[in-house]
Symmetry: C2
Subunit: 421 residues, 2 copies
């Protein structure tokens, strides 16, 4: 079913649902439009249009495949970032163990497109969603699904929802990243109580431990490593207490996009346990990377010898108004660009097919459908110009676009990425 669904994405009609795409492509299928290899700048695309770089996307996919392999990590990239089944499959072709997700509706998308291993990095207590998961497990012996538990009450609610189901649901205890951090059990004693609660059910099976070092309070390399060592020690303690008896694999998972170097380091310290250890890294933002938040926090700034991620998004918008020498407005706003961590960055100006740096141009605010640009005297910006904007935060960039052109460096659009948010 899944691969078939993936193939059928090319049969979708290009129509009013997909902003930025050429109006004169109405009625073509996505596959037909891709085969035309239109140019992003001259092929009838309308602004604003978000484009992914074909080369940079491939570079990032390859870099993290190499990184995970070099460090002996299994990789379940966080799919919430893109929610793009085509990218999920490319990640798996690039060696990923499976896909991490945050919400059961995201798991539905992944299952529709044939993803066989899902790590749900979240608590899941919704009875309707749990019954759906149980049905998926019952219908497909090869479907591997793991989710978090972090409270005895949560275990009880899961157990009640799952009573009578065929296969137990695999769970990992989530260890919180510290006091005041996000979800997760705060103390090792409580972890043991949650493990006890799991053991008391027949509907759940404890298979490991997990957490998110990105929420360590006031993070620095030492604090993050200290917490990762707590996580490893928790796995060891639970294993010594026989909590993973019967598991053919023990899961130890951490790793967002800011500290995977520390995860790689500390996970080398995991001793031999009673079963094979699946060291599962979950970074997701790498796939597109960005020009802001993730550019600043990526571990590759600390380990340049291992490579560098490349920002793969550029949002193209048109200058529609230039009411004063200090101001210009482009036709992309909160509906089109991420704005939760940084405003977009004006990078280049395109006029008459020529591209140059957007010197003296900066984004100062977003309205729903406009970006406000401030221009200094050295800025050369006219009504009608296209501005190429860099973005910050892949998750809130992808989620504003349902069909994203993938363009090669010369502007040739070679593919379209469908998202499901």
């Amino acid at each position: 079913m899944g691969t078939e669904a993936l193939v059928h994405l090319a049969d979708e009609r290009v129509d009013h649902r997909f902003k930025g795409l050429p109006p004169d492509a109405e009625g073509l299928t996505v596959g037909e439009l891709a085969a035309q290899r239109r140019n992003l700048f001259t092929g009838g695309f309308t602004t604003p249009v978000l484009a992914l770089s074909a080369e940079r996307l491939e570079h990032n996919l390859t870099l993290m495949e190499t990184y995970a392999a070099r460090h002996g990590l299994a990789f379940a990239p966080h799919g919430k970032t893109s929610m793009a089944p085509q990218l999920f499959h490319r990640q798996i072709e690039h060696g990923a163990w499976g896909i991490t997700l945050a919400m059961p509706h995201q798991v539905r998308v992944a299952r529709e497109f044939g993803i066989q291993r899902v790590f749900l990095a979240n608590e899941l207590l919704d009875p309707a969603a749990l019954r759906w998961v149980a049905d998926q497990l019952a219908a497909d012996a090869d479907f591997r699904f793991i989710c978090y538990v972090d409270s005895v009450r949560g275990v009880e609610l899961m157990d009640a929802a799952l009573t009578g189901t065929a296969r137990p649901v695999d769970v990992v205890v989530e260890l919180a990243a510290g006091e005041g951090a996000r979800t997760g059990v705060r103390t090792e004693a409580e972890c043991a109580a949650v493990a006890d609660a799991v053991a008391a059910t027949t509907t759940l099976r404890l298979v490991g431990v997990a957490g998110y070092e990105g929420e360590v309070p006031q993070p620095d390399p030492d604090r993050v490593r200290a917490w990762l060592r707590r996580l490893v020690a928790l796995a060891v303690d639970l294993d010594m207490a026989g909590r993973f008896a019967g598991c053919d694999e023990i899961v130890v998972s951490a790793g967002g996009s800011a500290w995977f170097d520390a995860v790689a380091d500390v996970f080398t310290e995991i001793p031999e346990l009673s079963a094979t250890v699946l060291k599962l890294l979950r970074s997701g933002a790498y796939v597109s990377h960005d020009d802001g938040h993730y550019r600043r926090i990526t571990p590759f700034t600390r380990i340049p010898e291992e490579g560098v991620l490349e920002p793969a998004f550029r949002l193209w918008a048109q200058v529609v108004s230039r009411p004063s020498p200090e101001q210009a407005f482009v036709n992309a706003g909160k509906r089109d660009a991420a704005y939760d961590l940084d405003l977009p960055f004006a990078q280049v100006v395109r006029r008459d097919g020529e591209e140059r740096p957007a010197t003296g141009v900066s984004v100062t605010a977003l309205s729903d459908q406009h970006a406000w640009l401030r221009t200094t005297p050295e800025a050369d910006v006219e009504v009608g110009d296209w501005i190429g904007l860099g973005l910050s935060h892949p998750c809130t960039s992808f989620d504003k676009w349902q069909l994203i052109p993938v363009a090669e460096a010369d502007g040739t659009v070679v593919d379209y990425i469908r998202t499901f948010f």
Copy 2:
């Protein structure tokens, strides 16, 4: 075509594309699911799920219909808010002249669903989009389309893109709301120059003036009225200069969601012009209203005798973690809730079918897929509870949901609203 497309919305399959909907409804059509009249709380919906109140939606539609009629205003509610063709049609059934939009891709959605009058409250310079508009005008003599112009260069670019088209595109001069405000011509002299530029083309026809009083710097009732009087004076001056010769209707348009009382007042002062005046109000947020920004700024606080809008959205999320007495986490985040003007407001807690005020519970932050709740000692919140959240800013609430259940007060879901962003 349009009405047919509207009817066909009920034939869409309920599937992985639509978060929050019951997994066990997979494969039903939207119409079949609506006919089941499931209950939002017991019918298998999964959290998070955004719901619209059927009664409040109808109340708001009726209130603004009455308001516009009482004040002699034509009404083109801003459709960018919901991007929901079903709501566009209900707005038109409630007396609206047409629909205001901000972007050409939004006009494509409106046209697909048979909207015959579109006011594009924005500059439109994109050649591909302009050609598409020209084709729409050529193919349908009953399609009325009006957009902004605010620069001579913009007029020249439009003219170049439209050369050879069958019907001229109707335009209005956009008057900026002041120095440093958003788009629009800053001075009356420049307005005259833009009107000259339009007159020099055969592809464009000047039909009026427009602007957005919501961008008046440091707005108060006096400043907003002063700017509205400038807009009216501009219409009078352009008319006396013969700029609207040949028009059977002169458009004067203003009015967002914060100052439509001032618009109603000042537009009564419009004198007789050389043709009938279409006084066009464009407020859009009223359709759902909200529990934050628009609750604070709605003109109905100044004119309570004319009615009150009711917040129609509630976002339901589940408590998935309660790691300390001061903290709880629900499974809705930036992907699900507006966060650009205010964080969501915890309003009610539901447990075992009982609903009570969310005393002592507040939202302090959003992650991508979680809301962080702070709880005081008086808060009674457990893992598994549903929290009903109020939202701020309709535009950034609608755009996170593609199929939104419409529920009556007892939870019966009677309809589903499809959005196209």
